[in-house]
Amino acid sequence: MLRYVIRRLLQAIPLLFIISIILFVLMQNMGDPLATLGGRQVTRSEDRQRLARQLGLDQPLYMQYLYWLIGNDWTKMDLDGDGVPETPGRRKGVLRGDFGVSLVAKKPVVQVIWDRLPNTLLLMGVTELVIIVGSLVIGMYSALRQYSFLDHLITAISFIGYSMPIFFVALLSMYIFAVNFKRWGLPYLPTVGMFDPQVGKTPGQVALHMVLPVFSLSFIYFAAYSRYIRSAMLEVLSQDYIRTARAKGLPRPTIIFIHALKNASLPIVTVVGLDLPFLLAGAIVTERIFAWPGMGRLFLDHVSRGDTPVVMGILMMIAVAVVVFQILTDIVYAWLDPRIRYE
């Protein structure tokens, strides 16, 4: 197993290298970071030329990539535009852990990402937990009570949730539980943000402000997850070894949770394994609507400003996470199903 993991990690190095080149080239077509500098007016021509020179954006693409990868502290830059490079570069490059400085926020990319990552992990972690636990309960119930009234009801609600766009669920829930509940004099939830400034950022406030975003995200994903679990459980429950277990007189909970669920978990592990890396990416629409300061909004804000260092930082982080979680998923496979061997 260890050899397998090491081999997979080594294979990931050229993969990440190729991904970085593709993403860097694509980013150059995402717009001009100096077009308006986020303002309402077009950047003055003198400022555009000066900034392009100072930020190294006037360099050929391969040089920009090289600076991003290995830094520019081995060469000198022409900052004053007299044609003579006189100022030593300061960037160390990604290979030495320097992802550069955000063109927008003027601070290190690692810091920009770190400011947001905990918020996203909090929101997405809780959401994923709610989705997994909730869909396990619903999926298993539906499988064990197949074709019952409640199974049909759950199926119908799941499909309604699955077919609704997230922005609709989010805005609808905000208007019902925050705006209208307040107007009707009922207990209400907050509309946006992570806490009420009058109260402060307490755990209770953050939990309260998370209710609606977690609800909106979960409502959408319950359907898919619970259907996976339902169909996997149904398939396993009809297997011979389950019949044998029943015939042996094993208690029903043991049959369901030990024998059936463990084997039915393989497809769920696949789905969760694929989803987990993207928890880091946040939920763009939900974070935007509920003003949750997470990675999804960070990505969107910086893509729209053509902030290559930050966007590359986020995308490379996700790429690494995908590789790592794929390996972890493979390890969990082997644990769940002893027939799987990686030697």
Partner: protein, 557 residues
């Protein structure tokens, strides 16, 4: 199940409700007791919503509108502008003029006399040294500031004493009042950073300016979430009545409206016209403030690459009269604005006799006929010398602009002009010639967006011949490629006219010329729309410096 969960959570935990409750009858008291200790008054916290997060707070490093209006809360300008756009001294004793000796007769030297009581929020005096330092940091090539304008017009800035700043320009500079000293750097904080690092690009102060000179002091910024400011006890014009300003970043327009309706915010801006009625119904006051922005069409008139039809002024006049901008303002913008006659509408710089081009499709047809553009092949589109009158109208992806495109397409089709529509995201749409921007490279025959001159100053470089982008000048900003010698000369003249009356005359000529030759066609006046919640009192907003009287703002509890 989830919905049930949400309701249970609500019932279990939520905020106290506004539901009135009946108090229990008071128990009879045996004997008079001492009066209860008085509660300290609740802190007055005003919540603002910004739909875009400021990139940085250092005034030198940003062009963002949301960042620049935030600066007025915690930083200081040498003077600001009231709601009538009159300059109001803040750091200076009086506005410099020729009469008080603040402006030299040749207009090249401007002298500022600073107030004696101005201090940074940490109590250190604000001196002329801070002005010189701000100038030096702007011009130093090791700092990647957003713009060196207008400091690059200066020959030198001197501080003969702690209370005097002397600015010497290379040549008379008319736009000084609207462009100079929009924010100040504390030399005592940032000079050590510059001396140590050789740049202030990475100074912590850029994002956490704990020392400022505005009515409020920076307290905290949580990325993507909020920025908090508290009242500055040292502010020389008076301590604000509000104790704290909490700026919440809410990027979604619909969420901003919901928060304003729910009372979770006291001030919002960038409100869509379509949301105004619903907000007004919820008791939110809507305030429109003109800040120089006008939405309009630019015609690409490059001598080689421009469409031949557009080079004929009669065709441009015909387009102006075939496109009913009055209906756009009435129907799409709910009658809350009107078409501007020129790029300088709503300012004294526009010739007051000018009126927007009328909607007159019949006259438009006549003009097109006179210009020789007729439908000779019966396909419904006019043509001339084998060239069809098919024009590309490009704009950003903003919904209201898409709606306008659709209306314009239908209306111009009525007079035989076919419009093909194109849209691009703003960072592509506004990209330079060198970056392949569609406007700058002439991919659109007509392009629409909203912009302003250096409001409240009228100057702009957008019409100068030298600003036409090309391979040699890839950053040029005259994307419409208009090179009118008379216009160019007038623009160069006004930039050096420090006598406002003379400059006004020049601008009246400029506005008339652009109007008559239809180099620009106004679609709607584009004021800033503010939503002021019912708790917020004494709010007056200025177009140039919105928060000029923020120390008088108050909150009813």
């Amino acid at each position: 199940m989830l919905a049930t969960g949400v309701i249970l959570a609500l019932l279990a935990s939520c905020k106290p409700t506004a539901t009135p409750t009946i108090p229990p009858p008071a128990a009879p008291t045996a004997a008079p007791t001492a009066p209860p200790p008085t509660q300290p008054p609740a802190r007055k916290v005003a919540t603002f919503i910004w739909t875009q997060e400021p990139d940085v707070l250092n005034p030198l490093y940003t062009n963002m509108w949301f960042s620049s209006i935030t600066q007025q809360i915690w930083n200081c300008w040498a003077w600001d502008f009231d709601d009538q756009n009159n300059p109001r001294p803040v750091l200076v004793k009086e506005m410099p003029s020729e009469e008080n000796g603040g402006i030299s007769p040749d207009g090249r030297v401007i002298t500022l006399k600073l107030r004696d009581d101005i201090v940074w929020s940490d109590g250190k005096p604000i001196t002329s040294e801070d002005f010189v330092f701000t100038y030096e940091m702007t011009m130093n090539p090791k700092n990647t500031v957003a713009s060196t304008h207008p400091y690059d017009k200066l020959e030198k800035v001197e501080a003969p004493d702690a209370r005097t700043v002397v600015m010497t320009f290379k040549e008379p500079f008319a736009a000084w009042q609207a462009t100079l000293w929009r924010g100040l750097l504390p030399a005592h904080i940032l000079r050590p950073v510059f001396e140590k690092e050789g740049t202030i690009d990475n100074a912590g102060w850029n994002r956490a300016p704990t020392v400022g000179c505005g009515p409020f002091v920076f307290k905290e910024w949580e990325s993507g979430s909020f920025i908090r400011f508290v009242a500055n006890d040292n502010y020389w014009l008076g301590r604000p009545k509000i104790d704290e300003i909490f700026i919440r970043i809410v990027p979604d327009d619909a969420s901003q409206v919901a928060a304003l309706k729910a009372g979770d915010a006291d001030l919002g801006t960038f409100i869509a016209y379509s949301d105004i009625p619903t907000l007004e119904q919820a008791g939110v006051q809507m305030v429109t403030v003109f800040s120089g922005y006008n939405e309009g069409w630019y015609f690409y008139l490059h001598p080689e690459k421009g469409h031949p039809a557009l080079k004929d002024v009669r065709v441009r006049q015909a387009i102006a009269m075939a496109f009913d901008r009055f209906s756009i303002c009435k129907d799409l913008l709910l009658g809350l604005t009107k078409p501007p006659a020129t790029y300088w509408a709503n300012t004294p710089w526009q010739d007051p006799t000018l009126e927007p081009w009328p909607y007159d499709p019949e006259r438009a047809q006549q003009l097109l006929d006179e210009a020789g553009w007729k439908d000779t092949n019966g396909d419904g589109v006019r043509d001339k010398d084998g060239v069809e009158l098919v024009l590309t109208l490009g704009t950003t992806t903003r919904q209201i602009r898409r709606d306008v495109q659709a209306v314009a397409q239908q209306q111009l089709a009525q007079v035989g002009i076919k419009l093909e529509l194109a849209n691009a995201d703003p960072d592509i749409f506004f990209a330079s010639y060198g970056e392949g921007g569609p406007c700058a490279t002439g991919q659109y025959d007509i392009f629409e967006y909203s912009t302003t001159p250096q409001y409240p100053d009228p100057d702009t470089a957008d019409w100068l011949c030298k600003e036409i982008p090309s391979d040699e000048n890839p950053a040029g900003v005259n994307w419409q490629a208009v090179c009118d010698e008379e216009l160019d000369a007038l623009f160069q003249l006004q930039a050096t006219q420090v006598d406002p009356a003379e400059r006004m005359k020049t601008f009246h000529k400029i506005t008339r010329l652009i109007y008559e030759k239809v180099y620009w066609l106004g679609v709607w006046e584009d004021p800033d729309i503010w939503a002021v919640g019912p708790r917020l009192k004494n709010v007056r907003l200025s177009g140039a410096t919105p928060f000029f009287n923020i120390i008088e703002w108050d909150l009813s509890q």
